[in-house]
Symmetry: C2
Subunit: 598 residues, 2 copies
């Protein structure tokens, strides 16, 4: 895109200098200068610069919001929640305006069918997001109810914010369903700003949710501690200073905190999807590899779902017992924490074994990995890796605390085991998920190829680039040894024009030619599918626990002894939201490649 833009301008430049000698009318000349300027402002801006320009803009938006949050966290007199909410409301209104502009301008050019990146998202993810958005809408309704009750003594911003947020949610879900896969090719620089604005608005909404949730949890935790007889900690009073005019205020404010986890996940997922859209701007999609995935088949799924359901059921049991026991007395508190760690160790041992089995199956079935350019998958990989960091840090802190602690509660060594298993489990699971993501296409295509009949040994590039396939061969991009060189070597060897597609088909054929191919791969695939379903449900379980208040890292006291209350709370405020996001993200990543394979 970059170079095309540059070339266009240069051609324009050249043709302009030619034509100016033939026609001397100044109005025409002005028109051309104007056109040139317009082109250079809209189309010609080099992609790298446009990315940096808009990326820097978005980052600064987020940082303004974060600095406001930090000021609020101090509970000083000067910066209040209203200020932050007005800032976020302004950003949401701007995003609404951009979305409306985008949808309207798209509809006008409806004769031009826009390119779509089918890998950007799936129906499942959009469906899940719609559900999360519905829960967010309920949350907005509760917020409005709360505002109505206290309207005499709270800022009007607290009433405007949920209304704008609800509108924003509805518009955004519409956008997700109909436009998130678009590959933008017009007004690229402007659209880049629009999309990145949307990305960072959602990130800021996520940060805001995380902060409110953490503050609420911390206050609850302090209240619990002081009721158990620990030192008095200052509890910040969040209630407004007037009476509620309706009877439902406390119901509203209490229910809000059960809905927070969903709202938080909604915003972070949307921002990840919008980020993929941003990366796709100006990209050329290879239509050959841009086919829809085959439908899900569920045959052979027995062991995985059953074990998964057992895990899920026991998790809910553990959650209920934990939450009741941790508030009762010191003894039940300690036994609840010990129970949690034992349960966690069993879960994690099963998850590690499942992941390791999956990896061994992959190792037993060597296959070149799919390295086509796919921003969505790259982002998935980076997010998995990045969001593990929070939970790893938490685990290593626990290990240090256990090693250094002078007290010795009953759960000391189970905590150590649990923490080390958490590190190992994420290590293995990341490898498994990333390998699944990079393998999925091969499998799908192999079967497509089978279904389509015998595989032709040679594909002509020209035929594969015939009208419907006018994209580029993306495979060449990330894998240095394949792609152009293969292409060229083969040209030299055979004196003909082969495509990369043909060279990959070559490699796929020997796999089929081996012995017992018809039997083993489908068995292997069934095992893999069962593993994926099991891990999927385990990750949901491990999301539910911290999302609904089961956080023994706050309650066990070991880490607090070694790190002190302030440092340890800061670590947890950073690590727990990352861990929640990690679990949700791995749920989505596990669902997609394994379940959508047949």
């Amino acid at each position: 895109m970059v170079e095309h833009g540059g070339l266009d301008l240069m051609c324009l430049n050249k043709s302009y200098s030619h034509s100016s000698t033939t026609s001397s009318s100044s109005s025409e000349r002005e028109k051309k200068i104007f056109t040139k300027l317009k082109v250079s402002l809209t189309e010609d801006y080099p992609q790298k610069n446009a990315e940096i320009l808009s990326g820097q803009y978005g980052t600064n938006l987020l940082l303004i919001g974060v600095s406001l949050m930090l000021a609020i966290a101090h509970h000083g007199a000067s910066v209040k929640e209203e200020h932050l909410l007005s800032f976020i409301t302004t950003l949401m209104i701007l995003q609404l305006i951009w979305m409306i502009w985008y949808i309207v301008s798209r509809d006008r050019q409806s004769n031009l069918q826009p390119e779509k990146d089918v890998h950007a998202t799936t129906c499942w993810i959009r469906g899940g997001l719609t559900l999360l958005a519905l829960l967010s809408l309920i949350m907005d309704a509760f917020r409005i109810g709360y505002f109505v009750g206290y309207r005499s003594c709270v800022s009007a911003v607290l009433g405007v914010y949920p209304i704008i947020h609800a509108t924003h949610t509805i518009a955004q879900v519409h956008f997700l369903w109909f436009h998130i896969k678009d590959v933008i090719k017009t007004f690229e620089t402007f659209e880049r700003f629009g999309v990145i604005h949307a990305v960072f608005t959602n990130l800021l909404l996520w940060c805001n949710g995380v902060m409110s949730e953490a503050e609420h949890f911390l206050n609850n935790h302090k209240r619990r501690l002081s009721s158990l007889g620990y030192v008095n900690l200052t509890i910040v009073d969040m209630e407004p200073h007037c009476n509620c005019t309706t009877s439902a205020c406390s119901m509203f404010s209490n229910s809000l905190y059960y809905l927070y986890p969903f709202n938080i996940e909604y915003h972070i997922f949307v921002s990840a999807m919008l980020f993929v859209m941003w990366k796709n701007i100006g990209r050329s999609i290879n239509l050959q590899y841009n086919r829809k995935r085959p439908a899900t088949r569920t045959q052979g799924l027995v062991v995985g779902p059953i074990l998964g359901l057992v895990a899920l059921a026991s998790t809910i049991g553990v959650l209920v017992v934990y939450i009741i026991h941790v508030e009762e007395s010191m003894d039940t508190r300690e036994s609840a924490i010990a129970m949690f760690y034992c349960y966690g160790i069993v879960m994690l041992v099963f998850m590690c074994s499942a992941g390791a089995t999956g990896l061994l199956i992959y190792r037993a079935d060597p296959m070149p990995m799919d390295t086509t350019k796919n921003p969505s998958r790259t982002l998935d990989t980076e997010i998995l890796f990045g969001s593990s960091v929070g939970s790893w840090l938490m685990s290593w802190c626990s290990v240090v605390a256990v090693a250094a602690s002078s007290s010795s509660p009953s759960y000391r060594w189970t905590n150590l085991m649990y923490s080390l298993l958490i590190v190992l489990e994420k290590y293995i699971q990341n490898l498994f998920i990333i390998e699944s993501l990079y393998r999925q296409r091969e499998d799908g295509e192999r079967e497509d190829a089978e279904a389509a009949g015998p595989v032709p040994e040679i594909f002509s590039v020209t035929s594969s680039l015939a009208p419907p396939y006018n994209g580029i061969i993306n495979r060449a991009y990330e894998n240095p040894d394949k792609g152009c060189v293969t292409l060229e070597n083969e040209q030299v060897e055979n004196g003909q024009v082969y495509g990369t597609f043909s060279s990959r088909k070559h490699s796929a054929v020997p796999l089929h030619a081996g012995s017992n191919v018809a039997e083993t791969p489908s068995k292997k695939r069934q095992i893999l599918k069962n593993i994926a379903v099991f891990l999927f449900m385990c990750n949901i379980s491990l999301w539910i626990l911290p999302a609904f208040g089961c956080r023994p890292q706050y309650d066990n006291g070991l880490e607090q002894e070694t790190f002190g209350f302030t440092i340890w709370t800061t670590v947890l405020n950073f690590a727990v939201p990352m861990n929640l996001f990690y679990r949700m993200h791995s749920v989505a990543s596990l669902f997609e490649p394994q379940m959508c394979k047949n």
Copy 2:
């Protein structure tokens, strides 16, 4: 690489099943199985997995170190500095063993000339790093002296650590000079672990330096505050509990803190360079684009260096005045801070104008950007962008503090101006540097081409892939519109085999064909060079100030009022090291492309 590995194994697999039918000797069979296993363990591991495996290992090393640091920051009884230092020493010893193994095994296969990535580093950077390493060695000597003085009451680790660190520094500088450009192609998976271990060992040494430096600065700051009559803050006593047996102990410990900034920069730079080496493992370098840069020419450099020297001189003046005045009394303190902000505003206005002029010159000279694959440049871009975040956050916090503050010192509005200008200056400077990085090659090549005589209009891919040029055409990788499609389209259109190189030359020619080319570009380039030199010296100035203790963000009190001591100190402990690194990194990035262009 990935697919080749996979294919090799499959071929092996196939040939094995064939040959086993003809020869039935079991020893031969075992030998083959052994070979197969060896291949699959060393060569065949897919690149993506190997990267994730080793990346996760390195991240966890760092996190263990960070959790130890957090425990030390609490100043509890259980975790002491000795524990952290023993951990780091172990890592350094492991890295030493790996480096020795690597150098020895390289020397053995000296008949095979290893591929080199000439873009990985320059002589200037290695020279600078050697200087920093020398200062680190002096620091180690001081540390040994300090240990000798207090040897009766401090842990032996404090004596072992500087000795190992000195050995590590010497070995690493040798490695940097002779091996950092290597493109590793043997034992890839093992080497990946070795290199990433080195990357994260250096990162951990950086973190450790940053932490010690921050703690020392904070203690000084608290001492200053309490001497000025502010509330008593707990100052942690760092001195050992025995008398020094030599006379130089206090000299050693005081000098240490002037050497810290250099040690810190040394480790972060080395880890960035090693990271590029890690990214290069298994890569195929295109030798055609892998030429050395032309030598630096300095003609026409007048205005930039003069203005830069003025900036540097005034900076040193400001530093001295600031450090003396800020400790005297409340009045001189306030005037010192006010002076700093005025000086900063003047500097930043000049820097913004210089950067904006540079960007305008680039806009007036549209040129397709160089998009060849270059891990070193990609990392430069990401680091510039990433390390700006710290300082942006600090600036936005200042803006919030100024807006929210109830007190109104004389420097309130200059602080606001200064903070906004910091945001703007980094925004512009990043754009300028990144565009310089992505343009540099074009200019160099254009001149090379001129020097080499007329540019041939058509390059044969086969000739460009003749023995010395057996790399791949990297240009195809990042730019979806060029590369294979261009290649294929041109093949289709002309019935001949053209290279991407030829298509780029096509685009370069019209630029030369325009009017007054011979004059304008060199003038433009001289202006750009002057701008780069000026910004180079300004960035050195803005590095010197915080590195040697001029940090008005601690002293002005405005932010502390809005955010509270704890939050604001945490923000600064995170942002100041990032800002220091940003300045040093932009110094290196500004030096390289502009100065090495002629």
